[in-house]
């Protein structure tokens, strides 16, 4: 696994990668939350197969993004329908700050690997 030093804070020698278990734990096309090292992370399983991970709470009024509707790599917050891009975290049609995003991938065994 190749990483460039620029990707990470210099004080942090290597990314911490955490196995969140089999992808089937999250229903297809939905999201769920994980508490990882004191941070609440929303993990999304897009129907097309990709995974995304963002901060769990909507910057607008702290709506639970994991309960939102996702599709086309976007999420709609369930409280007031604010939209965000899942891969970049960027807001769509609203002026919230971008969501914090995390690197996430699927292992060959079908397990969710989150980099923190």
């Amino acid at each position: 696994m190749q990483t460039t030093s620029a990707d990470y804070d210099e004080t942090c020698a290597a990314p911490v990668v955490i196995n969140l278990g089999p992808v089937e734990r999250i229903p297809l096309g939905e999201g769920r939350e994980f508490a990882v090292k004191g941070e609440l992370v929303a993990v999304f399983r897009v129907r097309a197969g990709r995974l995304h991970a963002t901060q769990a709470k909507c910057p607008h009024r702290e709506g639970p993004l994991a309960d939102g509707i996702i599709g086309g790599d976007r999420v709609i917050c369930p409280l007031h329908a604010f939209k965000f891009e899942l891969d970049t975290g960027q807001p769509i049609g609203n002026e919230c700050e971008s969501l914090k995003t995390y690197q996430i991938s699927l292992s060959e065994d079908g397990e969710i690997l989150l980099s923190l």
């Binding site: 696994m1 290597a14 911490v16 990668v17 955490i18 196995n19 969140l20 278990g21 734990r25 999250i26 229903p27 297809l28 096309g29 939905e30 769920r32 939350e33 994980f34 508490a35 990882v36 609440l40 129907r47 097309a48 009024r61 709506g63 639970p64 994991a66 309960d67 939102g68 509707i69 996702i70 599709g71 086309g72 976007r74 999420v75 709609i76 369930p78 409280l79 329908a81 939209k83 049609g93 609203n94 292992s107 060959e108 065994d109 397990e111 690997l113």
Partner: protein, 829 residues
């Protein structure tokens, strides 16, 4: 050479300058060196506002769209005050006065038009040079200036021509303190736009303002030698005056094009690509162009043309085509609001709807063809113009009650109020969006209702401010409104209207939301469209629908209503609002056991338990032992009742019994939006049945009135009487029939009140009571099937769809704990 091509534009008026603006906005400055010739020595100005300059309400400097500096900033070379004398097509060269020549790769002719001056005796000075003193035309800023200076001191002024421009000139002269006469050749004013009655109404309004109107008058001569003294008419009469403004129509400026050998008829002939038919590097736009036999003299078509041409020239859309414009115009004639569109007289079997109020100078006329608006004249009252405009532009089916289009039935703030509102005024009360924010979005290029709403979030809450947002949009873009095709789609992510979408779903046997995206949207999943599609598929396929839970809103995944703190509210079904001590005990027990934060009686006569954690939902349902009240979804909600005949001394019908039957039958039936029902035991209507989506009211004689399309939420509307029937079963039959028809035909998120108003009660009665389409039997069977397919969703307490259906937070597997080690194992191949 910088490798750019040369784009030369002849004409710096409304069309030429707009084209350059459109090209620059599409980064055309990177492709072209742009040169523009204008024979007036200014930047470009809004010619429509000239009459306001004349009447003194606008300063000349206020009507400039682009001052000279704009051209410099955008690297556009402007030859201001340089008249073009010839086009040399062979050498691709434009000759300007003073020896200025410019080469072109592409040439756009936007020479506009000039006033038509009839050959009157005494028009010119004796030496033949220039008009007799006191004679003017009205076309340019310079004309304005000359007229203003001459009119000083309360002169008597005659305007020849009672068309739009003539009346605008008359208004200007009136404000300058002149005594104004309008002399018109025809039998009524503005005969191009108005019918005789509207013309007569306008004449009365103008006379009330002090303008004298002379109809059927052919002017033959201008009297006086060096100075105007009066007008001589063909019928022998005369009119004394000191000045004359000639406004007898305009003629396209086509001399340059004709001399250059381009095909010219009334205007320069162009195709849908706006190219001259016999030179594919030369284009024409605006009042000098003739497209499909039409020469347009209004600003909106011209803007459509320049946008198309800019798309083509810059390669943004090389296939953009101009299809002609629906002619519609909105203007103020001497301060009187006027909107005109389409045909002004009926043809064949057209229906005419008209309203006249001579006292206030109001005249309204609609021409209806096949249920759609084919034309309209709206004079003197602009309140409902946006609605009429929209119906005309979009070709929508008009409401059965045509009056709804002419008058604001519910008093809402009109366009005048919208126009005079300060920018800080809040328009969207759900999301706190001000008029200023909406204007800013329009100015930033969002020119359709959907684009403005998406950009500002205005109208995305309860939606009741959308008409006002639309009005602000119309004011701000001054007619250059863009219609977003997706407003017609059932959902924005699949480019089909509801009937075509249903047909495609049936034909291709699409039973899940993902199947619809794959087959009908090129595989592109749109999150905003998922819920609407799920609702439709469930209605079409019933129990054969392939339910993908991710297409549901969170409420429908967990069968409860999400609250702002991520807890949920639970409302068990209490049929007809009639409960029992035993049910109440169970509810009380649950409230205590699960630490419910609030126990609330709802408006629908049931009990809401607020503040329940998602994880507790299945246990709550099990402990309640009551079915779901569906208070969280787009479906049949509840049937409110009064106590009816059992106890009430006024009751004439068993409303509680009916309410219970209604609820047992229709519980959980999904629909485009929520449905709230009521049954009232007498016309006192204590359960408010006439303002419900469906309501039944008992009347003396053992009968029930069935109302549909009532509302008492963000909109208030009294329901329309669908039918009066005898027994409970009959009420259930007609209600079921309407519900099924609504399920199949309403747009997603269209409440019954919008749906009933859109179709009209007369039409609905024909279909649902008289069976005019022969579908009642089928509707009855389909609603019966939906009733039979009903399953209480709270049964999922016993059998969840997925192990994490009611879980917010998933735990991290223990062995993952130091993490890094685990990963190396995973990647260790």
């Amino acid at each position: 050479m910088n490798g750019k091509q040369r784009l030369v534009v002849i004409g710096n008026g409304m069309a030429g300058a707009r084209l350059v603006e459109d090209v620059v906005a599409r980064s055309g400055g990177d492709l072209f060196d742009i040169v523009i010739f204008g024979d007036e020595p200014y930047g470009n100005y809004n010619r429509i506002l000239l009459s306001s300059v004349l009447s003194g309400t606008h300063d000349p400097k206020d009507i400039f769209i682009n001052p000279l500096g704009w051209y410099e900033e955008n690297n556009v070379k402007l030859h201001a005050g340089v008249r073009v004398t010839g086009i040399d097509r062979e050498n691709r060269l434009v000759h300007g006065a003073n020896g200025i020549d410019e080469n072109y790769d592409y040439l756009v002719i936007a020479t506009g038009s000039s006033p038509f001056v009839p050959p009157l005796e005494g028009l010119k000075k004796d030496d033949g040079e220039g008009f007799t003193d006191g004679v003017f035309v009205f076309r340019t800023l310079d004309d304005c200036d000359l007229i203003t200076r001459f009119a000083e001191g309360g002169k008597r002024a005659a305007v020849i021509g009672g068309g739009l421009l003539g009346l605008e000139a008359a208004r200007g002269l009136l404000n300058l303190g002149a005594q104004v006469h309008v002399v018109h050749l025809m039998s009524h004013l503005m005969e191009v736009q108005l019918d005789a009655d509207a013309g007569a109404t306008l004449k009365r309004s103008m006379e009330a303002m002090g303008v004298q109107v002379h109809l059927n008058k052919a002017t033959t001569a201008i009297l006086g030698n060096d100075r105007v003294r009066g007008l001589q008419f063909k019928d022998g009469s005369q009119l004394e005056c000191e000045m004359v403004v000639i406004s007898a129509g305009i003629r396209p400026n086509v001399a340059l094009a004709r001399e250059a050998g381009l095909l010219v008829e009334r205007g320069i002939v162009v195709g849908d690509d706006l190219k001259c038919v016999n030179d594919s590097d030369i284009f024409a736009v605006g009042e000098c162009a003739q497209h499909r036999g039409q020469v347009y003299g209004l600003v909106a078509p011209l803007w459509e043309q320049t946008a198309v041409l800019a798309e083509r020239l810059t390669g943004h859309n090389p296939n953009a085509a101009y299809q002609g414009s629906k002619v519609s115009t909105k203007l103020k004639v001497m301060g009187i609001e006027l909107a005109v569109m389409g045909s002004k007289e009926p043809e064949g079997t057209d229906e005419v709807v008209s309203y006249v109020e001579t006292g206030r100078g109001i005249y309204k006329k609609l021409i209806v063809r096949d249920g759609q608006l084919a034309g309209a004249i709206l004079l003197g009252d602009g309140t409902n113009d946006p609605l009429v405009w929209q119906a005309f532009d979009r070709g929508t089916q008009l409401p059965e009650n045509r009056a709804a289009l002419l008058f604001s039935l519910a008093e809402e703030s009109g366009p005048i109020e919208t126009a005079s509102m300060p920018d800080s005024a809040q328009v969207c009360n759900c999301n706190g969006v001000s008029k200023g924010q909406i204007l800013a979005a329009v100015n930033a290029g969002h020119r359709s209702l959907k684009a403005v709403c998406d950009a500002t979030r205005a109208g995305t809450g309860c939606g009741s401010c959308k008409p006002q947002v639309q009005r602000i949009l119309e004011l701000a873009c001054d007619g250059a409104l863009v219609e977003d095709a997706s407003v017609h789609y059932y959902v924005s992510g699949v480019a089909l209207r509801k009937p075509e979408l249903i047909q495609a779903i049936r034909e291709q046997n699409l039973r899940s939301v993902s199947a619809v995206f794959n087959a009908l949207a090129g595989g592109k999943e749109d999150p905003s469209s998922k819920v609407g599609l799920a609702s439709l598929l469930s209605t079409i396929w019933g129990k054969d629908y392939e339910d993908e839970r991710d297409a549901r809103f969170i409420n429908d995944r967990v069968h409860a209503n999400i609250q702002k703190d991520r807890t949920f509210s639970v409302v068990p079904r209490i049929y007809g609002g009639v409960t029992s001590p035993d049910e109440l005990r169970r509810i009380a027990h649950v409230a205590e056991k699960y630490d419910v934060k609030m126990v609330k009686i709802t408006g629908g006569q049931r009990i809401d338990l607020l503040g329940i954690q998602k994880e507790d939902l299945p246990n709550v349902w099990r402990d309640l032992g009551m079915p779901s009240g569906h208070a969280y979804t787009k479906a049949f909600r509840t049937c409110k009742t009064c106590v009816g005949t059992d106890f009430c001394r006024y009751g004439v019908g068993d409303s509680t019994g009916l309410g219970v039957k209604i609820e047992k039958r229709f519980q959980g039936i999904e629909s485009p939006h929520k449905m709230k029902l009521a049954a009232a035991g007498c016309p006192r209507n204590c359960s408010e049945a006439t303002t419900k989506d469906l309501g039944a009211v008992a009347i003396e004689g053992g009968a029930w009135e069935i109302y549909i399309g009532g509302a008492a939420g963000s909109q208030v509307r009294k329901g329309d009487l669908l039918a009066t029937v005898g027994a409970h079963d009959e009420v259930l039959k007609y209600m079921g029939r309407f519900i099924q028809y609504y399920r199949e035909n309403a747009k997603y998120l269209e409440r019954t009140y919008g749906f009933v108003e859109r179709l009209g009660i007369e039409k609905l009665r024909l279909i649902l009571v008289d069976d005019s389409e022969g579908i009642c039997g089928r509707l009855d069977a389909d609603i019966q099937a939906a009733v039979e397919a009903y399953v209480d969703p709270w049964q999922e307490a016993h059998e969840p769809m997925h192990p994490s259906q009611f879980v917010n937070l998933l735990t991290i597997p223990a062995e993952a704990a130091p993490g890094l080690h685990q990963i190396e194992k995973t990647f260790g191949d």
